[in-house]
Symmetry: C2
Subunit: 284 residues, 2 copies
Amino acid sequence: MEWISNSRILIVGLGLIGGSYARALKRLGFHVTAIDVRKEAIDYALENHIIDDGYTEVKKDIVGSADAVIFGLYPKVFKEWIARYQSCFKPGAMITDVTGVKSCIVYDIQNMLRDDVEFIASHPMAGKEVYGVENSDDAIFRGANFIIVMTEKNTPEGVRWIGGLGRILGFSRISVLSPEEHDEMIGYLSQLTHCIAVSLMTCSDNEHLVDYTGDSFRDLTRIANINEDMWSELFLLNKEPLLKYMDIFIDEFSSFRDMIANEDTEHMKERMRLSTKRRAYFNK
Amino acid sequence: MEWISNSRILIVGLGLIGGSYARALKRLGFHVTAIDVRKEAIDYALENHIIDDGYTEVKKDIVGSADAVIFGLYPKVFKEWIARYQSCFKPGAMITDVTGVKSCIVYDIQNMLRDDVEFIASHPMAGKEVYGVENSDDAIFRGANFIIVMTEKNTPEGVRWIGGLGRILGFSRISVLSPEEHDEMIGYLSQLTHCIAVSLMTCSDNEHLVDYTGDSFRDLTRIANINEDMWSELFLLNKEPLLKYMDIFIDEFSSFRDMIANEDTEHMKERMRLSTKRRAYFNK
């Protein structure tokens, strides 16, 4: 399938990211249909012209008329959906997702999937600390990274197709990783940071401190506003890399603590110079 | 001294915060003089009309003509300066600072200070991850918190005066704390967060990860770009509260790690709900 505007796109799971995809794709002229169990999500998206059609139940002809299907479901629900409804896909349909963990879903889905349909996984590295199609906004993709997660089962056409999706959605950088590389990276850059933010927020009864805080505490805890259902599932599905990075972080933080306790200014400064140098790579 | 625009203000230490104070006060019509050892800082500030006069050395008549003196020096240098030059102050002058730690300087300075001069400490909870008068910007005070740090030696006039400074600089919330309360609060809200950001940045050789990161990692590491001379001094001068909060954080983070290792979804979710609830207080 090429990215031409008479294509029909189906989005299954119309949350923050699914809704943001829908906004961008509909504006580009694609016919966008959505399925979501939450009636309010579908009603909101129809009223606000985010989608062309919307349904709260899966029907064969809706799925069967889509040239491409984008999944915005939680990992386990996503696998169950494919097992149950894959017979409905149009022959030659292209399938992708927005899931935050990959090894535990990509191989299983590719192994069970019909031969005439290709699933190529991807991960838009964009988001907000709020949820639902009501907060969707495709401006979050500008300047952001888009990761294609490729396996041996994927075809050159599939990779071209998903790269095209990343580009038309407005992402700035598009990269390709294996499922294992993706999960390792996400364990450090995303999951570890969320665990830190949660712990920083919960380690002190801080309600009265709001009058004194500066921006640094606000920045470090923005993502402490967290969807506990989604993230507990993501953490457990990526347990091994996440625990590895949590342990590395505990060691690093504890050694910095000991430098302060020992008044070891020289090594403290060395650590801070390294931190400053490395942070420079991440300036947008 | 009242905040009337024919007052003469001296700023000693013209860095990011000193320079931002200078910009605001000069715009309000005060006569602003600065002393800084760095000639480039004085030249820049004069060329950009941030100050009226500037000097790289301390002279008796410059100090003696100021109705108010604001110190933007590192803590130890600040104490040395007062010991050496306090004889130059104009009788009745008001003195404040912008220092990030208080117990270790406020009592010492108040105890050594002449009786006809009042030092009332304050801490503007605003900043940037860059340094120097060249990056100064008084817009950073809008929406920010200003903390007055008061002791038994301070007078009602002193507290009124420093509150007036916070207001005319544009701060949104002005609070009063004791030196001990201030240092406890800063150990958690500011110093702990900086130690976390540094450790997150240094715990992995992450140069190649910039193509994959989302905003959460950028947010948590913004302050990992850090001035190692200033912060190593601040950490050590507030060692006791900081180490207390570092240990509390290690315990909290480690227990969250164990919940993930044990797949204890119920307690993970409970922790995340608490985090979300507490973070809500900190929304601006």
